[in-house]
Amino acid sequence: MELLMSIVIGIIFSVTIYLFMSKNLLRVVAATLLLSHGVHLLLITMSGLQRGAAPILSFDADAYTDPLPQALVLTAIVISFGVTAILLVMSYRTYKVHKTDDLEELRGSADE
C-alpha cells in the first residue's frame, strides 16, 4: 500500500507543479491546495500505513498507528487552510486592482 500511495503522491506533486507553472492565478491557488494534500499524505505514508489500530487507547489494541505524523498533519491542515485563505484573498485583491488574473500581465513594473 505504501508503494501505491507513494506513486499517487508523486502524481499529486506532478499535477501541482504543472499547475504552478500555468499562467492563471486560480490554477496556482488550486495548486497550493493540492500541494498541501500531497504533503499531508506524504507525511502519513512515510510512517507506514494501516499498522495497528487508530491511535486511541480505548481500543486497547496491541499496536497503534503512529500518532506523531497525525498530530503533525492535523496542525498542517489548519495552517494550510490559513495559507489558502491568504492566497485566495490576495489573488482576489490582485484581480480587483489590476483587472487581470493572468500572471503574464502581473509581472511588476518596468523600472524594477
Binding site: 487508530a54 486511541i56 480505548s58 489548519v78 487552510f81 484573498v89 482576489y92
Partner: protein, 143 residues
C-alpha cells in the same frame, strides 16, 4: 449568493441541522481528549454550523442575531491558551504543564477534568473565529 433567501425548505432544515451539528461539535470538543475530536475539529464543526446559518438565511439578519465580533473571540482564544500555560508557571511548574484528575459529579458520574481542556477551548475559539472571520470578511466585501 447570499442575497436571495427564498428557500423555506432549506431554512427549516437548516435550523434542525444546525442544532444537531452544534451539539455534536460541543461533544467533539469535550470528548477530544479521549476519543476523536478536540479543539480543531470542534471549532471547525461549529464554524460550519454557523456558516450553514449564513448560507441559508441572508447575511444581514444573521448579523442582527449574532452580534459577536469574531476577531475578539480569536483574542479570547489565544488568551485562554496562553493563560493555562501561565497559571502552571504561577505554581512553579514549567510553562504549559497540564494537570488532570477524576471527579465524581452528580448525574454525570465519574468525570475527568483536565487543564488541557481549557487550552483546547482556546484552540477551539481561535479556529472557530478564524474560519468565520475569513469567510465573512470576503463575503462582506461587495464593492
Amino acid at each position: 449568493m447570499m442575497q436571495k433567501p427564498n428557500n423555506m425548505m432549506l431554512q427549516t432544515l437548516a435550523r434542525l441541522i444546525i442544532l444537531i451539528i452544534l451539539s455534536f461539535s460541543i461533544y467533539l470538543l469535550l470528548a477530544g481528549h479521549n476519543s476523536p475530536g478536540g479543539g480543531f475539529v470542534g471549532g471547525l464543526m461549529t464554524a460550519s454550523a454557523i456558516l450553514i446559518l449564513y448560507l441559508s438565511f441572508d447575511l444581514k439578519s444573521i448579523q442582527k442575531a449574532i452580534k459577536f465580533d469574531y476577531i475578539k473571540i480569536i483574542g479570547m482564544g489565544l488568551l485562554f491558551a496562553s493563560l493555562t500555560g501561565v497559571v502552571s508557571m504561577l505554581f512553579g511548574f514549567p510553562f504549559l504543564k497540564h494537570f488532570f484528575d477524576y471527579f465524581t459529579l452528580p448525574i454525570l458520574g465519574e468525570v475527568e477534568l483536565t487543564t488541557a481542556m481549557v487550552f483546547d477551548l482556546g484552540v477551539y475559539f481561535v479556529v472557530l473565529a478564524s474560519a468565520l472571520t475569513i469567510i465573512l470578511t470576503i463575503a462582506e466585501d461587495d464593492k
